[in-house]
């Protein structure tokens, strides 16, 4: 049975009289007209590109320290942003630090988006006992504030990149599942789902063709609103010493190791935090922009 491409458009006979506008075209048009959102997107894109291409930007070696060049102030010749407590170039470390920080800050939400959406859509569409089991389990995780849960799991598992990813993903699955379930139950009750079921389509086909397209954008917008928290938490785990291990450059970890320098060069030591702050602020504003462009209500 040919079950591919339900939404695919057949080749048009004559040109349509009115140009139909799909949902995503409208979203795109609204986003482009929103200067703050575009600015945030540009800043984030720059940070991500800089992180990806860090080794090719002609920066200093982020791991190479120097005992005599420790804690050079901002604007030093050859070290425009100074050096850290081991004499490593701050600019290089900040740019390289984006790689791990952004990865651990964004990846858990991506993973949780897929897992949580799947769980929530199944719970919302199937209902009954399946719903009860999934949602009651989710309730238990809601008994932990997110910071506590992340630190608890990371603390038990120990430091490490994979452990941070695991603990943060676990933290963000329950909220996404809850939103996905609520949205799906709402869509499940609509007549077009009944009409689709009346064709004899399997539950999987109805979910794929009729449910996913209508629930994914609110879930997606909600997930984007979690990225900022996830960034802060990921860097926070490293700041506490249960995330990325030294000597890897990572903003939270850098903030931690530079604390010893706050009496020597206070503003230098605050730099990694500025990076976390700017990223998190842009993520929040971008999420707000997406929410209004996609007409998702709270």
């Amino acid at each position: 049975m040919a079950q591919t491409d339900f939404a695919a458009d057949a080749p048009a006979g004559r040109a349509p009289v009115a140009k139909p506008q799909g949902y995503w075209a409208g979203v795109g048009a609204r986003l482009v007209r929103d200067p703050i959102t575009m600015l945030c997107a540009a800043v984030l894109l720059m940070l991500i590109l800089a992180a990806i291409f860090a080794p090719f930007l002609g920066l200093a070696d982020p791991y190479k320290g120097s005992m005599i060049a420790r804690l050079k102030p901002l604007g030093t010749e050859g070290h425009i942003l100074g050096t850290d407590e081991q004499g490593r170039d701050m600019l290089a470390r900040l740019v390289h630090g984006g790689r791990l920080t952004l990865f651990i800050g964004l990846m858990p939400v991506v993973l949780a988006f897929f897992i949580g959406s799947a769980l929530g859509i199944v719970a919302g569409y199937v209902g009954g006992l399946t719903n009860t089991i999934i949602m009651r389990t989710v309730d238990v995780f809601f008994a932990f504030p997110s910071v506590l849960l992340a630190i608890a799991i990371s603390g038990a598992l120990g430091a490490g990149i994979v452990n941070s990813l695991v603990s943060l993903t676990i933290v963000f699955i329950p909220p996404i599942t809850r939103v996905a379930e609520a949205v799906t139950s709402g869509v499940r009750a609509l007549d077009y789902i009944d009409a689709a079921r009346a064709t004899g389509a399997s539950a999987w086909t109805v979910i794929r063709v009729h449910v996913i397209g209508n629930v994914l954008s609110p879930i997606f917008v909600y997930a984007t609103s979690l990225t900022s928290v996830c960034m802060i938490l990921a860097a926070g785990l490293s700041f506490l010493g249960i995330g990325v291990r030294p000597p890897e450059p990572e903003w939270g970890l850098m903030l931690n190791t530079l604390r010893s320098a706050i009496y020597v060069d206070p503003w230098l030591s605050a730099l990694p935090g500025v990076m976390i702050f700017v990223t998190s602020l842009c993520l929040n504003l971008l999420s707000d922009g997406l929410r209004s462009a996609m007409n998702v209500r709270d």
Binding site: A143, W267, A270
Partner: protein, 317 residues
Amino acid sequence: MLTYLVRRLILVLPVAFGVSVICFLLVQIAPGDPLTAIMPVDATAEEQAVMRAAYGLDKPLPVQYAIWIGNLLQGDMGKSIATGRPVASEVFGAVQNSLLLAVSAAIIAFPIGTALGFLAGYFRDTWADRAVTALSITGVSVPNYWLGIVLVIIFSVNLGWLPSMGAGPGGSQSWAWDWAHMRHLILPAVTLAVVPIGIVAHTVRALAGDILTMDFVQALYAKGMSRFDVLRHVARNAAATALSVMGLQLGYLLGGSILIEAVFNWPGSGFLLSNAIFQRDLPLLQGTILVLALFFVTMNLIVDVAQAAIDPRIQRT
């Protein structure tokens, strides 16, 4: 109302059970043998087996859980591996300090957040609204552990006005209501208050804005009611939601103060937790998290019941 209360209490039990299971499993997912932390490196296999039996570690997991929960219900949370003292006394001492910090932060955050949010909601789409909105987005976006460091740089390092570490002079662990101690509270409490200010302001802004445009408010004006009286009606309508948000925030403050406590060396539950993590003191880790989570569950319960008591629209059966 009583039925609702009882029903809500019964609903808490499975959640509390789930919380205890997760806390129990935390120790199980920890890599390595829990014995290595307490046994000398040169312990013989025989000695290890004796210890294993003594701690019940040779029994199947469900039995271990039953023993653990049985002790827990008698108030026995085990002994700290690092200090050898009962976990319960360590945790409750630390939680008191954390609670002090969380409540102080709430006392700072709730009035400021409410005032800002109401201002923005009332003067919607004016410069005041935009300023508050920008402020609240900044508040929820700022990594508060970094903000703590910045405040230390400004007020401790540069100005020298306030201490940057601990809960009292000379690393004092015991709290006292005097200026020498309270000076230590200011910076961490302010730092901790920033996120809830943003969240409360955001919530109150939305509530006030929505309610002011509702039909019944138009009707109140139409009836000739004064601006002040209308505001009173609006405040009453917004109170239930605003209170529930604040109640939850108090729970988050207690659980979320860990990073701030690390920045300021505040001797609270977060400080205890990070010590437990670094010394691989798993019973202490388990106990601290259990107490914090149960506190959060209790906060949720209180918020739900209080909201039902205030808001007649919530079904109380």
